[in-house]
Amino acid sequence: MPVLTGKELRIVGFLCNWCSYGGADTAGVGRFNQPTDLRIIRVPCSGRIDPLFIAKTLINGADGVLVSGCHPRDCHYAEGNFYARRRLEVLKRFLPILGIDPGRFDYTWVSASEGQRWQKVVTAFTEQIHTLGPAPRFDAVAPELLAKVAGAISQGGNRVAA
């Protein structure tokens, strides 16, 4: 069963177990209503999140990816989110050159006590993805667009776009 067609978009979350997954739990315990699109993958630490997981998820057709870890200085493993911050920021800036809207990926910090903040983050991010709409896919680029770009490329030689 896919996402609810026309209502939901495919949003994947990577959450560290100690803070953000707990924050999402806290939001649940507090019955803070949230959009239903997000599917959460639990990992021990934001430092475990290889940016390539996110790239893979987006290239394979997800409409959005949200990563959340412990606030800087509060990492359960002391340093994981510091590494994550650098790597995720690099990825965030890399995505647009691939043709992926950078708004489809975001990372943030939510602690286990911040149920309301989690609700806010999920709601805002889901809204952001809905504003962007379903993600265009590499394997389904419109023929006209492909022809236009291919034309430009052949003008300038393969290595240069136009």
């Binding site: 069963m1 896919p2 996402v3 609810l4 209502k7 939901e8 495919r10 994947v12 177990n17 100690w18 803070c19 997954y21 707990g22 999402a24 739990d25 939001a27 649940g28 315990v29 019955r31 803070f32 209503n33 949230q34 959009p35 239903t36 599917r39 959460i40 993958i41 639990r42 990992v43 021990p44 630490c45 430092g47 475990r48 999140i49 290889d50 940016p51 997981f53 893979k56 998820t57 394979n60 057709g61 997800a62 412990c70 200085r73 509060d74 990492c75 359960h76 493993y77 002391a78 340093e79 994981g80 590494y83 790597r87 602690s111 286990a112 006590s113 911040e114 609700q119």
Partner: protein
């Protein structure tokens, strides 16, 4: 693999908005799922029995339970599958309560999402491998950080239970805030009479090592084997020699320093013992005021000390304590009342905190137990108490209730009447919070028997008029503005996290909330545990607490430590990283980034390779996402497992 899926109703908690039967039925389409059912309460005894029975009858080799958060019941179900003969790691959970049924009411969307979450759990489970924990020894010593009543209780209970205890206290004496109180509610017991004997017990207990005037510098290691560096701050007095005779205090020429123990409403000497019942009863020098340090000459204390204990050249010293568990009991600090300038604290000496008022009431305080107002030493007749100063106030980022102020204010009005029979107390309050045995009766007594006038409303401003303080507030029940000409204004300053609490939390690798209070593992079921194994909490460091609650938590934390130490060997969590030696190129990037120094370089057939130290690895997985060739994989969270989850979501 033969996978069984159990979808929990959790009564109506899940079933109310998720069609659990439909989820169970649909999972039968997933690869390797051979059995699926919905169940009323998976965690209940019949629920667990059902899982065990299914494992046996259907020859299941792996189990998925879709229910609440794994942070709640993962250990429960792991034990259950283990009872059925499976390795406990051949189990996955899908969180369809906190992450689904409780956050939305759309049954179709929730059912659909639940199925997706089971799908990824199945995909992960298909790539799970049995993991066997290894055992390691436990150092059965415990460190208690903080010597207030919670820490004292934890220390005594652990020591009585036969453990070696290291108690670390930031001040020169233990006792904490309770030692400063005059009486306690609702029994009006003398605070130092009930705390004093416990403090003496600490000093005399053969199992307790006390580091007073000391702070935790750094913490390394892990449950069972922590190494804590403790900074023993220089007291400039050799405590081996000091007998606490007080000759130095008598002769010290620097007498006008604000006395921290008396909340700065009385003076003290630069060399000082905070109060007569101090434990340890040893003098220390405040180098910021001592003339020997400030002016470079004096030396009076050194001259008069009968044992020659004064050491002006003393420096801070670091000692390392190896312990197996740590209890944080660092208490609270008071809200800084200067942050509310309209109450005039800091400007008008007769606007004081409740704790300062305790010192005025206390026989060991600066006024010898006579209530004299700070400005002119006069006995006040009209005393106004203002509640919720730095509590329940969003504008000051202190939205929480400090819990105990209502009660101590009621106590203070009673004591005021006892001290000054012709006095009149006024209490501005918003709500009276008195849920405790004999608590509400106590506040009623303050009004009914002692005539305290309670006014429901806040105070807008306090300003001087002659030698009085005009207190302008509201009586919201009467719907009017009220003014009181007060002689003394006592502010019930709220509790906030102790100074340095976030820094200590970072050293302990535990979480804290936005106010700096430490996070417990579960708000209901694990109130004294943290998410870091071997680290426990007691008292107000977790949130404001009164004395009985703090004492109860001290004992509770001690019980947790005793239970932990009841085994000689602990099992390490086998969810750790492992190196595929064939793939490792020995670049050492994992070694460079591991926060725990849990990876070392080894030689293998003449080539450099990485190797994980099993008991040190904490399972964060930074190494796995750092290694470009994926040679080091975090068990139970391998690349393949996360990729399978990603693929399942992208393909579905």
């Amino acid at each position: 693999m033969r996978i069984g899926v159990f979808v929990c109703h959790c009564g109506s908690n899940i079933e109310g908005t998720v069609d659990t039967a439909a989820v169970a039925k649909a999972t039968l389409e997933f690869p390797e799922v051979v059995y699926a059912t919905d169940t009323m309460y998976a965690c209940s005894e019949p629920g667990q029995d059902g899982i065990i029975q299914a494992i046996k009858e259907k020859n299941l080799t792996g189990v998925v339970v879709a229910s609440c958060t794994p942070r709640m019941h993962e250990p429960t179900f792991r034990k259950a599958v283990e009872r059925a003969g499976l390795n406990r790691f051949m189990f996955e959970m899908a969180n369809i309560r906190e992450h689904v049924s409780w956050i939305g009411k759309n049954r179709e969307a929730n059912t659909n999402k639940s199925l997706d979450l089971v799908r990824i759990a199945v995909e992960k489970l298909r790539r799970d491998a049995p993991l066997i924990p290894s055992k390691f020894s436990v150092n059965k010593r415990v460190m208690i950080i903080g010597g207030g009543v919670a820490g004292i209780q934890a220390a005594l209970d652990c020591a009585d239970g036969g453990l070696q205890v290291v108690l670390v206290e930031r001040e020169s004496t233990i006792g904490g805030k309770m030692a400063k109180l005059d009486k306690t509610f609702p029994t009006v017991d003398c605070s130092s009479c009930i705390l004093g004997p416990k403090m003496v017990d600490v000093a005399q207990h053969p199992n307790i090592t006390l580091h007073a005037y000391s702070e935790v510098d750094s913490i390394g290691g892990y449950v069972g084997n922590f190494q804590v560096k403790v900074k023993k701050k220089a007291t400039y007095v050799d405590w081996e020699l000091c007998t606490g005779c007080g000759a130095c205090i008598e002769k010290c020429p620097s007498k006008k320093n604000p006395d921290a123990f008396n909340e700065k409403i009385g003076p003290c000497t630069s060399i000082n013992i905070p109060f007569p019942q101090a434990i340890p009863k040893k003098a220390y020098i405040d180098a910021t005021t001592c003339r020997q340090f400030v002016k470079g000459k004096c030396g009076v204390c050194a001259k008069v000390c009968p044992t020659g204990a004064i050491r002006y050249d003393m420096t801070d010293e670091i000692v390392t304590e190896d312990v197996g568990a740590i209890v944080a009991a660092t208490g609270y600090d008071l809200f800084d009342i200067k942050k509310i300038p309209e109450y005039g604290s800091g400007t008008y000496p007769d606007v004081i905190t409740g704790l300062q008022y305790e010192r005025l009431l206390s026989a060991s305080g600066p006024t010898g137990g006579h209530i004299k107002r700070p400005s002119d030493g006069k006995e006040p007749k009209n005393i106004v108490f203002i509640q919720c100063v730095g509590s329940r106030d969003k504008s000051l980022d202190r939205p929480y209730c400090s819990g105990f102020c209502c009660m101590y204010t009621a106590k203070q009005t009673i004591l005021t009447k006892d001290h000054i029979p012709d006095s009149q107390s006024y209490v501005f309050y918003m709500d009276i919070r008195s849920p405790g045995k004999m608590y509400d009766e106590f506040t009623r007594r303050a009004m009914e028997e002692y005539g305290a006038r309670y006014i429901r409303g806040r105070v807008a401003m306090v300003y001087p008029k002659g030698d009085k303080l005009m207190v302008r507030g509201a009586d919201t029940l009467a719907g009017t503005q009220v003014e009181i000409e007060a002689d003394l204004v006592v502010l019930a300053a709220g509790a906030e996290a102790a100074k340095g609490a976030p820094q200590l939390a970072e050293k302990l690798r535990i979480s804290y909330d936005k106010y700096g209070f430490f996070m417990e593992s579960h708000p209901k079921l694990k109130p004294v545990e943290t998410n870091t194994a071997g680290v426990y909490l007691a008292g107000s460091c977790q949130g404001p607490k009164d004395i009985p609650q703090s004492v109860g938590q001290g004992s509770a934390a001690a019980a947790k430590v005793l239970a932990l130490f009841s085994k000689d060997m602990l099992e390490s969590d086998p969810q750790i990283s492992r190196v595929d030696i064939k793939r490792c190129v020995g670049c050492g990037k994992c070694i460079m980034t591991c926060p725990f120094k849990a990876i070392k370089e080894v030689e293998f057939r003449g080539q450099k390779k990485a190797e994980v130290i099993e008991t040190v690895c904490q399972g964060c997985g930074i190494c796995t996402s750092t290694c470009p060739q994926g040679a080091i994989q975090l068990s139970h969270f391998t690349d393949n497992q996360i990729l399978a989850e990603v693929n399942a979501l992208c393909q579905s």
